[in-house]
């Protein structure tokens, strides 16, 4: 223990603070620095913190030094951080201590900076204080929180901390959104007590050894007294309570406008920050997809991969940029590798094998299976010593995902789900204990599955059923589970209609759908895709499923969907695409070639149940040289062919997809 309690304490506080909100902090730092250099934080001022005006003046000067104090603000980390909108309220308060922002970095080792850090705190503490309703929450909870935080801090505060800090910043950068703050706050329902807690937390750290509550309290009490004088106390920011400093006094007004922080944030977003929103959008551009024809990267991937890459024979020139199909023949070899891949959780492993073997198909089924596997993995997860849950779990999940990708490329919807999960992880309040964090995540996943898939499907059913009339002839292609549910639902409603199931080689999924529909007593017509023009005369509605919908309205779906939609369009038959909104994606795509998935080429030459089709069985090597087999999995349907998209937000034209994508993304990160 440091002989100088004050320094020690402040140091600890600082650590705490770093731990807890590295992300924000850095972000803010960098932002502040940037903003300050730009000189005008006027946006901020607008809505929220009028009172601070005086503080602003000091800022510029302080800003200058801070921005110069390079380590942090210039560091790639800060740059890479998404330029998220910072919840303005804090900032203002920060501004007071704005210089602090930059300072802490260099100050890692020295407590001298603390005061500045502390300045950050007050605002936060204020926010915390804002949510008084939770005051009721029991002591146990508080203590629990404290304990957990204790645990966390203990792990990280030692030597590690120095190193962990920057990296933490990087990792956390994923959690770009202000909502995270809200979430954090929401989860730490500490009103006035928060102070106590903070103290507990902060005090607890120094006592690396276990201390009883009472002890801790006592310690805190004494410390508090000492600290009260120094602003440093405020630094505990890490947790809820900042000592009532001068700033808090100013802030009370704000509190009123936004008791739930989220709302205030939302407001802030609305009011100001257009610029930062803009920037965020820019940063949020989906990263370029991996291109498999890129030698350097491909090589690396190959070395890392678990599965053998099939040789390039029979690969279609046009699609060299896509990963080759890995067929089920690799199943045994992968199975045998199970024990080498110990870092893969068995549940994830199982799902991966199912993807590989093709047992699991359908966007929703795959997505749910994946999420549930992650859930299990999270349940069994324990943070390795000297790591933080947030970072370690994120990288774990990243490992799972890349394993799954190897088994089969992810669909857009799964990408969205993973994004959701990672943002939830990144946003976990650091005060949560490991078990709490795990249950939170599991329930988040459950909620995602429930709200975004199960309930969304139910809403879609309702909407779509209104478009089915008696006497209709409905056409569907392939096997979409949403469409199937719609048909069954409409049938249960007693509507009289006929279903045309169109199918295509080699998947022949339609046969299974046909089976299920006929068993339920629907009258069906079955045909092959080629005969679509023949059957389309009598069809009155076309219902299609989708794997994803891009923000230019392009529907990315099972290969052949585009043909069906095109023929329907030519015959003036309305085309309804049924798709849950979580499958919407902000990418844009014009054709089916830039991005797609390749199926097993050998599946083409065989036709199940048709022994007479065997023309390609005995080819000579020379013949094989010239022959390429292309088994595409998806295609892109231009939006002109789509009459309406039925989604959980209602029925929208394809042109409205980008709107949903934008609005929805915010919401789903907030969930």
């Amino acid at each position: 223990m440091n002989p100088n309690p004050n320094i020690d304490f402040s140091h600890l506080c600082f650590l705490l603070f770093l731990q807890k909100s590295t992300k924000f902090f850095e972000r803010q730092l960098s932002m502040d620095a940037r903003r300050m250099s730009r000189a005008v934080p006027r946006v901020r001022q607008v809505g929220f913190f009028t009172p601070n005006t005086p503080a602003q003046q000091p800022q510029p000067q302080s800003a200058a030094p801070s921005s110069e104090s390079p380590p942090l603000s210039d560091s790639p980390a800060s740059n890479s951080l998404s330029p998220v909108m910072i919840p303005p309220p804090r900032h203002l308060s920060d501004n007071l201590g704005g210089r602090t922002a930059a300072v802490p970095v260099p100050g890692r080792e020295i407590s001298g900076e603390l005061p500045t850090v502390g300045s950050y705190n007050p605002s936060e503490s204020v926010l915390w204080l804002d949510s008084p309703p939770r005051s009721r929450i029991g002591d146990e909870e508080l203590s629990e929180g404290a304990e957990s935080s204790l645990g966390w801090y203990r792990r990280s505060d030692s030597a590690k901390f120095a190193s962990s800090l920057p990296s933490g910043g990087f990792n956390l950068s994923t959690a770009k959104h202000p909502e995270s703050v809200a979430a954090v706050e929401a989860k730490n329902p500490l009103p006035e007590q928060s102070e106590v807690q903070k103290e507990q937390a902060s005090s607890s750290k120094p006592l690396k050894a276990k201390t009883t509550k009472a002890e801790r309290r006592a310690l805190q009490e004494s410390q508090r007294a000492a600290k009260a004088a120094s602003r440093a106390e405020a630094n505990k920011s890490g947790t809820p309570g900042g000592a009532p400093s001068s700033k808090p006094m100013k802030q009370p007004p704000q509190k009123k406008d936004g008791p739930p922080v989220a709302s205030s944030i939302a407001a802030s977003e609305r009011i100001g920050v257009d610029r930062s929103v803009e920037k965020e959008r820019k940063k949020d551009l989906p990263p370029p997809r991996k291109q498999f024809d890129d030698e350097s990267r491909g090589g690396r991937a190959k070395r890392r991969s678990v599965l053998n890459q099939p040789e390039a024979r029979n690969r279609v020139e046009l699609f060299r940029h896509l990963p080759p199909h890995k067929n089920g023949t690799q199943l045994p070899s992968l199975e045998s590798k199970f024990f080498e891949l110990h870092e893969k959780h068995p549940a994830v492993y199982k799902v991966g094998l199912q993807y590989l073997a093709g047992d699991l198909s359908g966007g929703n089924a795959r997505c749910i299976a994946m999420l549930q596997a992650f859930q299990e993995a999270i349940r069994d997860y324990s943070t390795p010593p000297e790591k933080t849950l947030t970072r370690d779990l994120t990288s774990k999940i990243g490992g799972f995902v890349s394993f799954l990708i190897e088994c089969r490329p992810l669909s857009m919807s799964m990408g969205n789900a993973i994004r959701f999960l990672k943002s939830r992880i990144a946003r976990l309040p650091l005060t949560l204990s490991e078990s709490e964090a795990k249950t939170t995540l599991c329930s988040d996943i459950d909620r995602f599955i429930n709200e975004k898939i199960v309930l969304a499907d139910k809403v879609i059913l309702r909407h779509a059923a209104t478009k089915i009339r008696d006497g209709d002839v409905l056409l569907t292609y392939g096997s979409s589970c949403v469409v199937e549910m719609i048909l069954l639902y409409a049938h249960e409603l007693g509507k009289q209609f006929r279903v045309v199931v169109v199918d295509s080689h080699p998947m022949l999924e339609g046969q299974k759908l046909l089976r299920r529909l006929v068993v339920k007593g629907l009258s069906c017509t079955y045909t092959q895709l080629n005969a679509i023009s023949y059957v389309m005369h009598k069809v009155t509605r076309v219902f299609l499923g989708a794997s994803s919908i891009f923000s230019n309205g392009t529907v990315y779906s099972t290969v052949g969907t585009a043909s069906v939609a095109m023929v329907a369009h030519a015959f003036r038959v309305p085309v309804l695409v049924c798709c849950e909104a979580y499958k919407f994606h902000e990418r844009v795509q014009l054709d089916s070639i830039c991005f797609n998935e390749l199926g097993d080429p050998d599946a083409i030459s065989k036709v199940p149940g048709r022994v007479d089709v065997n023309y390609l069985d005995n080819l000579t090597d020379k013949q094989k040289e010239n022959l390429e087999l292309l088994n595409l999995k998806y295609d892109a349907t231009p939006s002109d062919y789509i009459s309406v998209i039925v989604t959980d937000y209602g029925m929208i034209p394809p042109t409205s997809v980008p709107v949903i994508v934008r609005e929805y993304r915010k919401e789903y990160l907030l969930i």
Partner: protein, 375 residues
Amino acid sequence: MPYTNQAAALIHSVKAVGERLIAANPVELAVGNVVRRVLHIVREEDLSLTTAAMAGLNLSAESDDEDDTDRDNHPALSAAAIAAASRSTLRPPSLQTLLEDVPDSAAVPHTSSSGGDSEGKSKSADKSSRSRKLKHDVIEAVNELIQDISTCHELIAEQAVEHIHQNEVILTLGSSRTVLEFLCAAKEKKRSFRVFVAEGAPRYQGHLLAKELVTRGLQTTLITDSAVFAMISRVNMVIVGAHAVMANGGVIAPVGLNMVALAAQKHAVPFVVLAGSHKLCPLYPHHPEVLLNELRSPSELLDFGEFSDCLDFGSGIGAPLLHVVNPTFDYVPPKLVSLFITDTGGHNPSYMYRLIADYYSADDLVLERRTTSGN
């Protein structure tokens, strides 16, 4: 039928046989076309003989002149239907003949009967030699027709280099011998290009074509039918065979081609149909998807074993729950076709009705239609 009228008797018997053939498979329009072609040959030969005879009697000097000066003389000679008919028979088919055929076609039936009668009276001595000559000529002409039909692939293939350039990407669906030879001809001329073959479910003839193409060293990619839309944007030209070409330029083609044609139109890819002239049918399509189609066995699509309970009267209401539709042909409307390549060259869809007049006599069209509809 009077024994004197050889041609009429021949036409009658050809028709009788033709009707039976057509009745055997009314959807196989080529049969009707060939019957019509034969009838046309008979009529032409008969006419040319008649003309020759007439010319021998009174118009011998003139007939040659008329060919050169028919524009001036036509009004004056319009009464001489025989002379006009002779012009049409003696010249190879051309647009000019077609134009002149229009007035003639009404006169031809009249001519043949009246001419026959007059022949009978005036030339009874000549009769046996003439009938032998008619028979001989008809046989010769029919042989020529057979020749034509069997070589039409080559004639079409000869034009391949005019349409396929280096590094072209061509898409086709199903299998057609004409297409195969067309592509191979271009390949032999050292053009290097790439072919996408859609497999053409449910018959999967595309596999066969792909195999043939790779055997001949062409770079071939076999794709599923469902991937046609995805791939068409990278294709320079769609080349397909046809089952029949209708008088309006529409095409009866293997199932799935309408979809391909629509996709090609969407991406402004030329849709080229290769068809021998025997596939040119003088009928105008009415509801061709149904009337000129053939539904094949559901077993090509579904395994009976698996679905036997539903195909049948499994529901207990007496109506089967499950229908399986497996048509053989698609109708591609003329507006989706960019070009026809026939053994007589390339033609626009809008021009096809003109060609019909080259190959068929007007009175056969009606007759055929009655027989087909009767069946």
